[in-house]
């Protein structure tokens, strides 16, 4: 019973926080919250590769950008009613692209994999910027139409909230499934997984496809927030921010990346209002967290929870 409660507590908090915003959030809060849940989906999808399987991709922005551009360009060409359909096409396209890139890059290990994913994403960014007749180049795409029902910040937030929650639920089930155990096993010792009878490459590829698919959904959703997208969504700093936010929140926990995203965006918003050197402050916080609490914010809270438990006379689990 107690055990069940601890598993469900993060979900409860998730619904309490992001659900209640629907009723109490002002325009600005809703806008920030939309960004948090959408980037949160991106980060949790990224963590399927990073925290779970142990694959550091420095190029997941390629799928984020792809999702956004497919959704944006299709809605722009075929009209606002097509927006929702485009949101379905984006992840399908991401799966196709991830198979192509995955087959090429997953054969490499560690840093070579990381570098190759970075190279692919930069290539996509280059194409997006240079091919301006098709993609709008540096200017990106503006005034992306949406169905009337989704117009307005609050309606779009509710729509995003429903989709993101469904996606998170699927990823959560996946994390706790036997397939999830295999991915964690691959992170801990790939050789051992192979002589248990599992094809390591195929599982890595599946993880890569799943991660990319959900990343593209996040990208597609993002295209609807401000109705504008830009080539920077492909660039390496985008992939880099997601890595930072994931580490900040805690990569060994399912909701850790979402917490990282929320803290990062809130800090950016709050400190950004006070000083233009906000990135300096965030950098300092990052260094502190990484040096003192390598398990991220989730790690910090678990640490203190354990301290309290000890004071309560309970024994610490070894």
């Amino acid at each position: 019973m107690n055990n069940k409660l601890t598993t469900m507590a993060p979900w409860l908090a998730y619904f309490l926080i992001f659900g209640s915003l629907i009723f109490v959030g002002g325009d600005h809060t809703i806008h920030i919250a939309s960004q948090v849940i959408i980037l949160g989906l991106f980060a949790i999808a990224f963590n399927v590769l990073f925290g779970t399987t142990g694959l550091l991709s420095f190029g997941q922005a390629i799928f984020y950008g792809l999702g956004a551009y497919i959704t944006g360009m299709m809605a722009k060409s075929f009209g606002g009613d097509f927006f929702v359909w485009a949101l379905l096409i984006a992840p399908a396209a991401a799966i196709v692209l991830s198979v192509l890139l995955g087959v090429l890059s997953l054969r490499l290990s560690d840093v070579y994999f990381t570098m190759l994913t970075l190279a692919f994403a930069q290539l996509a960014w280059g194409i997006c910027v240079k091919w301006s007749s098709f993609t709008g180049g540096d200017d990106g795409i503006q005034a992306i139409p949406k169905p009337e029902l989704l117009a307005g910040g609050l309606n779009y937030y509710i729509f995003s909230f429903v989709i993101v929650t469904a996606c998170l639920y699927l990823l959560w089930r996946l994390d706790r499934s036997p397939f999830g155990s295999v991915l964690k096993g691959i992170r801990q010792n790939p050789t051992r997984i192979s002589f248990i009878g599992m094809n390591v490459f195929r599982h890595k590829l599946l993880a890569y496809m799943i991660s990319s698919c959900f990343t593209a959904i996040a990208g597609g959703l993002y295209a609807g927030i401000d109705k504008s997208i830009h080539p920077d969504m492909f660039v390496w700093t985008m992939s880099g921010s997601i890595i930072l936010m994931t580490i900040l929140g805690g990569m060994r926990s399912f909701f850790g990346p979402l917490i990282g995203v929320a803290v990062f965006i809130l800090l950016e918003d709050e400190i950004g209002r006070a000083t233009q050197y906000w990135s300096f402050v965030i950098g300092a916080i990052m260094i502190t967290v990484v040096l003192l609490f390598p398990k991220g914010i989730v790690g910090i809270s678990r640490h203190f929870a354990r301290l309290f438990a000890k004071k309560g006379g309970q024994r610490d689990n070894p």
Partner: protein, 234 residues
Amino acid sequence: MNETLLVQNIHSYYGKSHILFGVDFSVKKGETFCLMGRNGAGKTTTFKSIVMLVPPKEGKVILNGREINGLKPYHAARLGIGLVPEDRRIFGELSVKDNLLLGTSSGRHGYWNLEQIYTYFPILLDYQDKPGGTLSGGEQQMLTIARTLMGNPDILLLDEPTEGLSPVMVKVLKDLVLKIKELGTTILLSEQNIKFCMAVADRVVIIDKGHIVYEADAETFRHDDDVKKRYLAV
């Protein structure tokens, strides 16, 4: 067909260094076969060659009449080779139960399932929700063997299972291996512990510097003190 595993004249290398020189033996169905030898004699390399982690450059490995040279390790596992490696043996961050369930990845069904495992290894039932990494060395060894059994292998490869275990644990392990053996499981064991080997094995070979230098049934080996002195330094 009487032989579960045939190892025919295999030569294996680590990079350029030649480790196994024509290793040759066969394991009959249902028997417990022990590969003995000193440290560095080639026991682990022989095991790694059988599961294709270090594929032999020459010679054949035949499982149930099928040549498995050139297959990937996961494929060899699915065909029925269950390796219990000598290094730290479990997925430390996964729960004991998840470790066991991973063992079913081979997709093979048979006598062993969670229930049977918990009957034979009651301690794993008590610890099923604990992370594997919190178990003691001997318990982890039990868990690895249990996980491998979950894959219902045709042949169980135990690479120096007693290494680093306390005498009490060695005794527990011995009883366990005898029980598994009674079920008709084919076992290939590598050992330095002569007592343990004699307690469980039906046949013994000795490997030295990558060559098989001795082969006998367990009874003959028991009385062959000269061989023990020469190759196993006792």
